[in-house]
Structure formats: C-alpha cells, structure tokens
Amino acid sequence: MKTIPMPSFGADMAEGTLIEWQVKPGDRLSRGQVVAVIETNKGAIELDLFEEGIVDACLLGLGQTARVGTPILRLRDPAEAASATPQDASVPVSPQTAPAGEALPAHAEAAAPAPGAPLRHAGFLPASPAARAWATTLGLPLASIHGSGPDGAILLRDIEASQAEARAKSAERLVTAPASGGGLDMAAMRAAISATVSRAKKEIPHYYLSLDVCLGAVQDQLTAGNAQRAVEDRLLLAAPLLCAIARTLSRHPELNGSWRDDQYQGCQEVNLANAISLRGGGLLMPVIPQAQQLDAPGMMAWLNRLVDKARHGNLRHSELNGATCTVSNLGERGADRLLAVIYPPQVAILGLGRPRQAPWVLNGQLTVAPVITISLSADHRVSDGHQGALFLHELDKLLQQPEVLWTPLTPSP
C-alpha cells in the first residue's frame, strides 16, 4: 500500500481542489496516466503518475480542498490483489455498482465519478462532476456554457467565466473588479511562496552576477526571420535567448542540476523551467525538457504550447517538475535587472531584465543598441563567482553569433 499526496505544482501552491477523478478503485495504473484533475490558483492541472499499482481508494471527494502533502489516493501493489475487474468504458458507473470490498470513504462515495465514460454518450454534454453540480446549484443550463476542458468538457472555471461574462454584460459601462485568481485563498498562496523563498534564502548561500549583453545581432536575425514568417509563426526574443541559455548551461553542470540531502548532482541535459506569471495572479514554472537540443523556432513552439496549456488548464504534473535550472523573464516592461531567488533543489536561476535601447560602445564608437541585462543567481556551495562569470561570458559570446541558434543541435553521442 502506498498513498499519493496532494502534489505541489509550484512554490506558490498551498492547496488544491479535486475537480475530477479519472480513475476508480480497481483500476490498474499505466505509466504517465492522468488520475485526477486538480484545480489550483494556476487553473486546472492534470495529475499524471508514473507509479505502478492498482487504485485502492480515492481519499478526497469531488470539490474538496486539501493542503499540499495530504494523502489523496491510496494504491496497492499489483501482486497484492487480483480482484480488479475492468469496467466497460461505455457504461457510466454509479458508486453502487462498484465491486464489493472496494469501499470508498464516505465523503467520496456520494460523488464518485465514472471517469471518461459519460463523454461517449450522444446528446450528453461533457462536464466535470463538480462543474455540473455547481451549474445545477446556480440554475445555469450547461448548454449555455462554453467548455474549455478536454473534448470541450465544461470545468468549474468555465462556469466562473460564464458568470463573469454575464456580470460584465449586465454592468456594461460600469468598471468591474477583475476576477480573482481562481477563488483560492490568496493568503495561503502568499504563505506557500513565503515558505519556499524563505527556505531558499536560509539554506542557499546565493551569489549574484550581472552582465549587459548587446542584442543587436540576435535582433537582426529575429527581424529577418520574422519578415519571412506568417504573423502567427513569428518568434519572440525569448526563444533565441532561452536557446542560448540552455546550450550554455549544458556546458556548466555546476549551475544545472539539483542539491538533495547535502549532495549535488550536476546534469548535462537541461530541463529548463520558464517562470510565467499568470493573468489574475499566480506563477507557473512549466519545464522545457532537453532544452539544449532545441533551435529558436523549436523553442518558440514549446513556449506557445506551454502558454496554451497553461491557459486551457491542461498542464500535467510532470510538466511542472524535474527542472534543472530556471529562467525568470520580466518581459518588455518594468525593470532593467532581475536578481532572482533560487528555487530549491536547483542551484541557479537566470533573471532577464527588460530589453532596452541603450548607449553601447562598438569598435571604439559610441552607438545606440538593444541591450539586456542578464543576471545569474547561483549557489555558492556548488560554484564560485569565477565559474558564474565564465558562464555569462560564454552566453554573451553565443548571443553574438546567433545563426547557430537557428540550427538544432544533435544530441552528443
């Protein structure tokens, strides 16, 4: 027997609300299977598991909220029991038809879902059970709501959105307050952020280095490339920047890896987390796996994909985990320099300031050029300022010959 706890999808997540079970007692898990959909301050996120086992019991009822770390699912070893009878997926299963001996806890029983099954019925509107229940409470016909979930399924937040739209319509000309961040406790979210950054600042002896980098060459390459591309295929500056960072990190395992139990494990493979702040609050750090192999268009495709997933609430747990280093990007407006706090167990984080036009000396001549300040916060237990400075120097050199960033790297043998 083992239990699966409410996972953390980021430093600012304190609790999650269960909106859908996609497994039921008796189901045998396959690797990477999505078992539940959890609503957080970042929207709905799918929990995928890479565990072997048979579902013994779902410990959290639909619509219930649990703190990170609270057990939500109990699994038993496949060898322990062979009593699992797979259900016919086309028949909705009521809790009463669950095999005897597969008892659910009382609070989960009343709302036990038939995962996946209802979607296949003609004329049946796919909706998560929690959304369905809430719509009934509010007296909203499901047909009036646009579903943003898988297969157009209606989720809790779609009802929220439809409510917000209705409010906006009836109050045209009135300035309404922006919708809150998913209805979750903002104080709890602050507390979760606080716990992570406090731990980082207490345990990790940070050192900080910054370098102003001229982006003239990258910008030229980008502009020339984008002129050939349709509007929706254009690249953002972030794409070549993240490529260059990932490639340089792969040669600096002292900045790319994880510190666990007083041991450091450096990596050559770069799983790069890209911090995205969400509209309405919350921070999401989806991971771009093997980022060192991507070229700029490939990186842009990843960024587009992650933004879409973040917006439509189908990011998976595994897509928010396993980062070896993080980049935090302030975007086009705001501050010139960002000295970020390292996200444990990682040992470095890059901060990208606002790209700006600035005086620049080129071949002894004063000119105006696009400039960005790239900052490195790194863990002094693992690396020294000298190594950090070498990293920034190599990154700068790579950004001065950006053609190579438009060519994918083949994995080294």
């Binding site: 917000a164 906006a168 300035v175 309404t176 984008n226 002129a227 953002l236 509209r279 309405g280 407006r333």
Partner: protein, 80 residues
C-alpha cells in the same frame, strides 16, 4: 472596414486573451500593453488574431503604429 468595425474586432480578440477586462473601459490612447497588461506573447497573439480576422498582414516593423486601440483601429481602417 471602418474605424468602428476595426475597434470592435480588436476588442473582441483582446477579450479572448484577457477575459477579465470585459466590462471595464479601456483607454483609447494608452499603450495597450500597459492598459491591458499584455506581455509580448499576449501582444503577438492579439496581432495574429486580428490579422487573421481582418485579412490584413501586419509586418513586425509596423508594431509601433498599432500600440494603442485608437492607432490600431486607424491602421486597420486605412485604405491599402
């Protein structure tokens, strides 16, 4: 397309990206990126969506001409 149609089109696409702005009033002459808190990805998506709906190809070099709602609408409305 006249300026009013263009404005409606831009606002419709903007609300798709930032639904929380619906029902509020957006200033016509303020940089949209500030007024609507659009990051570069949001802005690129707005331009792509408007470009698709209006069949108007907007080169990157013209971005400075479409930074406010008013300018964006006038840009789409101009004869070409």
């Amino acid at each position: 397309m006249d300026t009013t149609d263009a404005l409606t089109l831009i606002q419709t696409e903007l609300y798709r990206i930032a639904p929380e702005l619906m029902g509020g009033e957006l200033p016509l002459n303020e940089d949209l990126r500030d007024a609507a808190d659009l990051d570069s990805m949001d802005f690129l998506r707005l331009v792509a969506a408007v470009s698709k709906q209006s069949q108007c190809i907007i080169p990157e070099a013209d971005y400075p001409k479409i930074l406010t709602l008013q300018d964006f609408a006038s840009y789409l409305a101009q004869p070409r």
